[in-house]
Amino acid sequence: MNDQTIPPAAERAAALQGLGSSRKRVEDARFTQGKGNYVDDIKLPGMLFGDFARSSHGHARIKSINKEAALAVPGVIAVLTAEDLKPLNLHYMPTLAGDVQAVLADEKVLFQNQEIAFVVAEDRYAAADGVELIEVEYEELPALVDPFKAMDDDAPLLREDIKDKMDGAHGPRKHYNHIFYWEEGDKEGTDKALAESDVVVEELITYPRCHPSPIETCGCVASMDKINGKLTIWGTFQAPHAVRTVASLITNIAEHNIRIVSPDIGGGFGNKVGVYPGYICAAVASIVTGVPVKWIEDKIENLTATAFARDYHMTGKIGATKDGKITALSCNVLADHGAFDACADPTQFPAGFFSICTGSYDIPVAHCGVDGVYTNKAPGGVAYRCSFRVTEAAYMIERMIDILARKMDMDPAELRMKNFIKKEQFPYTSALGWEYDSGDYHTAMEKAMETVGYKALRAEQVENRAAFARGETRALMGVGVAFFTEIVGAGPVKNCDILGLGMFDSCEIRIHPTGSAIARVGTISQGQGHATTFPQILASEIGLPAEDITVEEGDTDTAPYGLGTYGSRTTPVAGAAAAMAGRKIRAKAQMIAAYLLEVHDGDLEWDVDRFQVKGNPEKFKTMKELAFAAYSQAIPGIEPGLEAVSYYDPPNMTYPFGAYICVVDVDVDTGVVDVRRFYALDDCGTRINPMIIEGQVHGGLTEALAIAMGQEISYDAMGNVKGGSLMDYYLPTAVETPVWETDHTVTPSPHHPIGAKGVGESPNVGGVPAFSNAVNDAFAHLGLTHTQMPHDHWRVWQTAQRLGVTG
């Protein structure tokens, strides 16, 4: 059988569609045909529907709740309030941040649209009618909206439930509205270095409250099987195993009697990491009624009551020598966490990985401190398409670098080049303690500048400014440069956990006798294309074609334990687990091959899809042959079958980076910003599927555009949420979205089995400062230091007006 001509290795490798192949997304066949299976597609016999009555006030005492009229609506089965949950001790639930959150408002409401009552009905229409008829009598209280007033002596007390608990989950609390103070770095050394610097700039950089707003809202179907005592919850969960463990801990249902299933998910972007009252209420309602209960949010509920992102007020201070070498960085952050601390961060990092804020620069000394406070706003603080608080950090440092460049009258790209960590410094330990795994920043920046013709753009800008001064144009050109370094792939179990669960991830592979396979992973795709890319990793590791490998994830009864998909952790952690499991398969296959070829296993070498005898490539066994042998032959000393499991605890994070350049034209009369050009160079290490990377970058840049140009969840002085529907909340369409130019360099991670770093969130992290820097740059010659996001028409016009260039 080995007498045919063996196809060349490259040909065999291409046929596998492994690493580097732009194979088409296998999941798209069902999505493009409308055959996806989302939570709201799940319909079970006898299923009921739950809907929330919500607070109309930002801060108020609940004097009474009358459910009689709601209960009288035909089809309404039950109405749950905090009083009903108290006997079960479920009126509060633990948050991922060590706080508790009211499941249903207990005596007072702390943000508008907070959950007050859960109406359970035969269908969603009756439930909505019931919600309308829940009568709540309020005594209004003064709302705390401005986080800078949260710790005033006379600030309203928000959290009566913990007012005497001055020892918080992350150390002592300074005030009844204070949550934590967290710091990193050398404060004294930083202050000293800043004092001795030739140049120092300081600025308050606000990253406004926004919301991930996935197309599909959050929801679940809870079904308690009273016969076998098993609770199954299908839901929009980015971390199904963590949800199972948390559900077991708070309900006291044994973990083997809980099954969590994440079906197809229509986008997550961090919004689906947390645990929401709807999940608890649906589960309780199912336990009480004995039938399945579905809860699905509408878009307004999603935008106003589930986890927001950002809301960081960052005062950056950066010092430099007179020739532009950065000497020190300090950053003090006021973090608005809303009414409950429901941030989704690894337990030991209440401000996430914000201490990556030294960015891509070799800064000798730095310090950052973060105060978290309560306000009368929705809880959350999730990482909206970024690793934990990394986009905030990147935005702060990338704005500060531009501000420093302006102050020193230096080109912002030149200032960056001057301060980049050099290639030979990697692995590089930052002043705030992170060990950057690999990078080649100068090469990336130079490639970006050369591709866009950076010098010519600056020359054109000089012309544009002169023409503007002469009154020949009303548009100002801005060039935004951003160079980001991310920290993704949480993370090493030694310091990364969520509620005590180590942030490893896992892969389990079974090779079938005929040489196809199923792989199960502890993650869950929300659109990232896992069913396409995991098989590519495995194809390169085990030599079976990607198309013959099925991926399954999201069902806790079948998938190995993992911490889910967010923070660009899937490729760095579960991708590594897949590679390691593949290597275990290969190791066993090698033993089988040695037996079949009657040689010592050390005399074999791996060649794309087979083991061959060293020096005699005509003598080989393909992986497909070895798979069959594993199930068909009695091989001494080797168990039948061909399976492997790997639980991968990463030794370090990965540090993707990139150089983005944005060119805008700002109409000073209307405030309209036209993005003329956007170039994004990403280095995510080894590239698994270039087409999927490009798609991820396109999506992330579009979200970055949305954040920089318009997304904001704001509140009026009474705590009424403004912009809580898609009429106001800025989701750009294809019309508003510019053409994206993508590019790459490849600097593999030295510690990851295949050198990959993760990419899904890079464009959000790098895109936001690139847009913002471009808008700020358009006005820089007029004396502008910094203007806050979002750069919507009104704010941009206001900036132009302040600078005296409006008509």
Binding site: R124, Y125, A128, D129, E132, D298, K299, I300, D669, T670, V672, G710, K722, G723, M727, D728, Y730, L731, P732, T733, V735, E736, D792, H793, W794, W797, Q798, T806
Partner: protein, 287 residues
């Protein structure tokens, strides 16, 4: 986002619709494309007990251009307005405006009648109808009457339409050949209502502006016919001074609310910019 309970009626003739409206009384609402009413019902800001859907009434559909008059049936969709080559040639500003309404999906269902009759100051067609000096044909059990678009709007969602009446058509004189026109709208994104928008229709005779009419969208609780602004242009060569006077006259009648698009002062400013740019564009198109 689920409306309250209501009964749905789908009459096949205008007479049937009018008699249904008469018999069901004030708890009944007529629905055309539904793109204003149904979202309000989903938010339970409108809770009609009866919906009378006009989509099966063929008499309410179509575009007729004859004898210097253009008549458009109320149930003609925005997409049909856009697709009509005849209408584009006779009165191109209709297409220009319709293309700035929401998105293709909405325009496939949204109608001109619903757009003008609902009284939502954010809708684009009412100001355009004022600029065109259109008449609205209203029919009730007592017969038919016409009301000028410039007199129709009383306040947000309050119009001259009486209980029991249905707006069946809009009618206006075909603009003079060679007229200049422009509808300029600033919005935050596709699907948004205007921060401010302006419709301008003018004619130029030997370098002098011989007629001009200007109307504004979404900068007051009704569409605003800017009579003084138009008059500021007539007789001028559309010189800088005349345009500036028109812009100021238009700004003077605005009274926008502060919202997510910006504070009132900004929206008034944008109304002025839109008027100025629309005049410039219309002047360029006129011949």
């Amino acid at each position: 986002m689920i409306p309250g309970s209501f009964d749905y009626h789908r009459p096949a003739s205008l007479d049937a619709a009018i008699s249904l409206l008469a018999s069901l009384g004030e708890e009944a609402r007529v629905v055309a494309g539904g793109h204003s009413l149904i979202p309000m019902m989903k938010l339970r800001m409108a809770v009609p007990e009866h919906l009378i859907d006009l989509q099966d009434i063929d008499d309410l559909k179509g575009i007729a251009i004859n004898a210097g008059t253009i008549t458009i049936g109320a149930m003609t969709t925005q997409a049909e307005l856009i697709a009509s080559a005849e209408l584009e040639s006779a009165c191109p500003i209709i297409k220009e405006t319709a293309l700035l309404i929401a998105d293709p999906q909405v325009r496939n269902v949204g109608t001109i009648g619903g757009n003008v009759a609902n009284g939502d100051p954010g809708n684009d067609m009412p100001a355009l109808m004022q600029a065109l000096d259109a008449q609205y044909v209203l029919q009730g059990s007592g017969g038919s009457r016409e009301v000028s678009a410039r007199d129709f709007y009383e306040a947000a969602y309050f119009t001259a339409i009486e209980d029991g009446e249905i707006l069946t058509a809009v009618r206006f004189a075909t603009p003079a050949a060679g007229h200049g026109y422009a509808y300029f709208k600033q919005k935050r994104k596709i699907g948004d209502y205007a921060t401010a928008a302006a419709a301008v229709i003018l004619t130029i005779d030997g370098g002098t502006c011989s007629s001009a009419s200007i109307a504004l969208t979404n900068v007051g609780d009704t569409p605003l016919f800017a009579q003084a602004a138009g008059e500021a242009l007539i007789g001028s060569s559309l010189d800088q001074g005349a345009v500036a006077a028109a812009v100021e006259a238009a700004k003077a009648i605005t009274d926008p609310v502060a919202d997510g698009r910006g504070p009132a002062g900004f929206r008034t400013h944008i109304a002025g910019v839109m008027v100025g740019r629309a005049i410039a564009c219309a002047a360029e198109r006129a011949n």
